[in-house]
């Protein structure tokens, strides 16, 4: 595990120079797989280090990678910069107009004491020649990455009017085959860029899937097996305490947990006596209420942001498609009609779009799509054959999903407009089942 984290860190150092897509990959790296130049052109000058030895983090690189990954910005290459200011008073705006930057990020990191740093940054409007925002932070070395993500969030907000989602966490599952042929599963949590990964659960030969963050980001629900004698069950784990429990004992198996927006209920799938339907469970009360009742498979529930509806996957009309039902139950309405299959849908924060796994037929396999319930349109964002498990960033600007690179499962991020797509490639086994937390 330590080795993995080390490799991860090392790789992200490599990833930081991702401006050169040809650079060789080690254990984990961001590979730019797609990206046209049509975002806002932004320059980010190197953060000036004012201290002894080497700077503890390359903040500029973290911020630049965040902004690029969102798909909204084109980060101009530092090789073209004519000067390297670290503060507004040092900026010659014409240097930046010449390279057609619309915005410029400048910053400093100053050593204030043992393991104590001050970080400052300013976001400048190059054409209006003024400061859009400037902030100062104090942090220890371990907090510097988080400071960089907070800077990215602030810049994102100033430039787009949308709250940033870089200072957030993700969960995912890795599977590695041991030398003895065992399947070792790890449930991991990490920063939104894959850094600072930590294992929170490890099982041997007992699959782990479908992690789901509680709205407050403090708990994870997920599916696993307690032994080889019982079917799947939904577990609830308190992340900081490290305690876990099955949410309930079911007559049959339970899976596909989805938190209601108020965090009080879990929608889940219960398979009992051969029938698979959606239920709603009171997390504290333990009260179980059946939401759908159909001999077909009903699974993968997800709540609308206002908590009034749930979407789910059902094959009641033959192939799997997306349906919607009131949180009070009643008749389910079919939403998707295009494509051969659609599954695994979840809402964006506005409730106007769904991200899902779509199979368009003709042997195309499974890609990630964004579906607009009002128009019935689906935009296909990816081009894999086994893409799955899409999850919106909390601000709806990006989608994290699982895809394949050869035999291995890897995580990838695509901007919600499909313009920029990056793979977080790992050689440490099979990576799958990402979930993006709504809050840190």
């Amino acid at each position: 595990m330590k080795g993995f984290q080390k490799a991860l860190a090392l790789l992200f150092v490599v990833a930081m120079v991702f401006i050169h897509p040809g650079s060789a990959a080690a254990a984990l790296t961001i590979e730019i797989t797609q990206g046209e130049r049509s975002g806002i052109p932004v320059a980010a000058a190197p953060f000036r280090w004012q201290g002894t030895g080497d700077p503890p983090e390359n903040l500029r690189a973290i911020v630049a990678a965040d902004l690029h990954r969102s798909g909204r910005f084109d980060l101009l290459s530092p090789a073209d910069y004519l000067s390297s200011p670290s503060e507004v008073s040092e900026v010659r705006y014409k240097d930046w107009r010449l390279i057609k930057a619309e915005a410029l990020v400048v910053g400093r990191i100053t050593e204030k004491g043992p393991d104590q740093f001050e970080v400052s940054f300013q976001l400048l409007d190059v054409y209006r020649e003024r400061v859009k925002v400037g902030l100062r932070y104090t942090a220890n070395a371990a907090q510097l990455r988080q400071v960089a993500h907070q800077i990215s969030d602030r810049i994102f907000y100033e430039m787009t009017g949308i709250k940033g989602a870089f200072d957030t966490r993700i969960a995912y599952v890795t599977m590695q085959l041991s030398d003895g042929g065992d399947r070792v599963y790890q449930l991991m949590i990490a920063d939104s860029d894959g850094h600072n990964s930590q294992q929170i659960l490890k099982t041997t030969n007992l699959p782990v899937l479908s992690p789901a963050w509680s709205p407050n980001g403090q708990r994870l629900a997920y599916v696993s097996f307690s032994d080889n004698q019982s079917g799947a069950n939904v577990w609830l784990q308190d992340i900081s305490a490290g305690t876990r429990r099955p949410v309930a004992r079911f007559d049959g198996s339970a899976s596909a947990p989805a938190w209601s927006p108020d965090g009080k209920s879990l929608a889940l799938t219960v398979s009992s006596r051969g029938n698979t339907d959606i239920y709603v469970l009171g997390v504290e009360s333990g009260e179980l209420r059946r939401l759908t009742k159909h001999p077909a498979i009903d699974t993968e529930p997800a709540w609308s942001p206002d908590g009034r509806y749930l979407v789910f996957t059902s094959d009641r009309n033959g192939r799997p498609h997306i349906y919607r039902v009131s949180r009070n139950g009643g008749k389910a309405e079919r939403l998707t009609r295009e494509g051969k299959e659609n599954a695994g849908a979840s809402y964006d924060p506005t409730g106007k779009r769904l991200v899902l796994v779509t199979n368009r037929g003709q042997g195309a396999g499974y890609q990630i799509g964004v579906f607009y319930p009002e128009s019935g349109r689906t935009d296909v964002l990816t081009d894999g054959t086994l893409d799955e498990s899409p999850t919106f960033s909390p601000n709806g600007a990006m989608i994290l999903y699982a895809t394949r690179m050869g035999r291995d499962g890897v995580l990838a991020v695509v901007s919600a407009d499909g313009r920029v797509r990056q793979v977080l490639k790992s050689t440490e086994g099979d990576v799958r089942e990402p979930a993006w937390a709504a809050s840190r």
């Binding site: 595990m1 371990a142 065992d182 949590i189 600072n196 930590q198 294992q199 929170i200 659960l201 490890k202 099982t203 041997t204 030969n205 007992l206 699959p207 899937l209 479908s210 599916v223 097996f225 307690s226 032994d227 080889n228 004698q229 019982s230 079917g231 799947a232 784990q237 992340i239 900081s240 305490a241 490290g242 305690t243 876990r244 429990r245 198996s253 899976s255 596909a256 799938t269 398979s271 006596r273 051969g274 698979t276 498979i297 699974t299 993968e300 996957t313 094959d315 192939r319 799997p320 299959e341 599954a343 695994g344 796994v357 396999g365 499974y366 086994l386 799955e388 498990s389 799958r432 089942e433």
Partner: protein, 184 residues
């Protein structure tokens, strides 16, 4: 020769009754770890960790090799796995024959417990495949029950696409992974 295997079978019936349908899979283990945001707790194993059951690898489920050395290689009881078409839980005629043979065997040996383990190939979402594996194992369970196997003696478990037999990514691999394993 036939008599030898019959004796062996009876012996293992005893093991099965005692072991109550232990799976042939290796035992699972679980470690829960806490994780504070600063990462300092990442190596600490805390309470609530649960040890999985270490099931004996050498159980009846694996060792019954009836008639393997006899001429009747077509004995459906020798087949422990039935296969399905893509996104289907309908039994093929061949699968039907195998399932019925096991059902007959189980009805004439009341008291035996059987686990029906449903699996799917990797296409489609993991959760849908978990439900599909459930439906497949239930399809076999329905035939068992229709033929008189006590419902209490049957347990269905789905692993969805999580435990593939073949790691390949083509139809020949997928066809091996869409299956129900009959374990007793």
């Amino acid at each position: 020769m036939q008599r030898f295997w019959t004796i062996l079978l009876v012996l293992f019936l005893g093991v099965t009754l005692a072991g109550c349908a232990a799976s042939k899979k290796k035992g699972g283990t679980v470690e829960v770890e806490d994780a504070t945001i600063d990462g300092s707790g990442a190596d600490v194993t805390t309470g609530a960790s649960a040890s999985g059951v270490d099931s004996d690898d050498a159980t009846a489920g694996e060792i019954i090799i009836i008639d393997q050395n006899d001429s009747d290689v077509d004995d459906p009881l020798g087949q422990r796995v039935v296969y399905f078409d893509f996104d289907s839980s309908n039994l093929t005629p061949e699968a039907q024959r195998v399932v019925e043979a096991h059902a007959q065997y189980l009805t004439s040996n009341p008291g035996m417990a059987v686990v029906l383990e449903g699996h799917a190939d990797e296409r489609g979402t993991r959760e849908y495949n978990l439900a599909l594996g459930e439906r497949r194992s239930n399809a076999v369970s329905q035939i068992f029950q229709a033929m008189g196997v006590a419902p209490d003696a049957i347990r269905t478990i789905s692993y969805g696409e999580e435990r593939p037999i073949s790691m390949g990514q083509d139809e020949s691999a997928w066809s091996l992974n869409r299956r129900v394993e009959i374990l007793y």
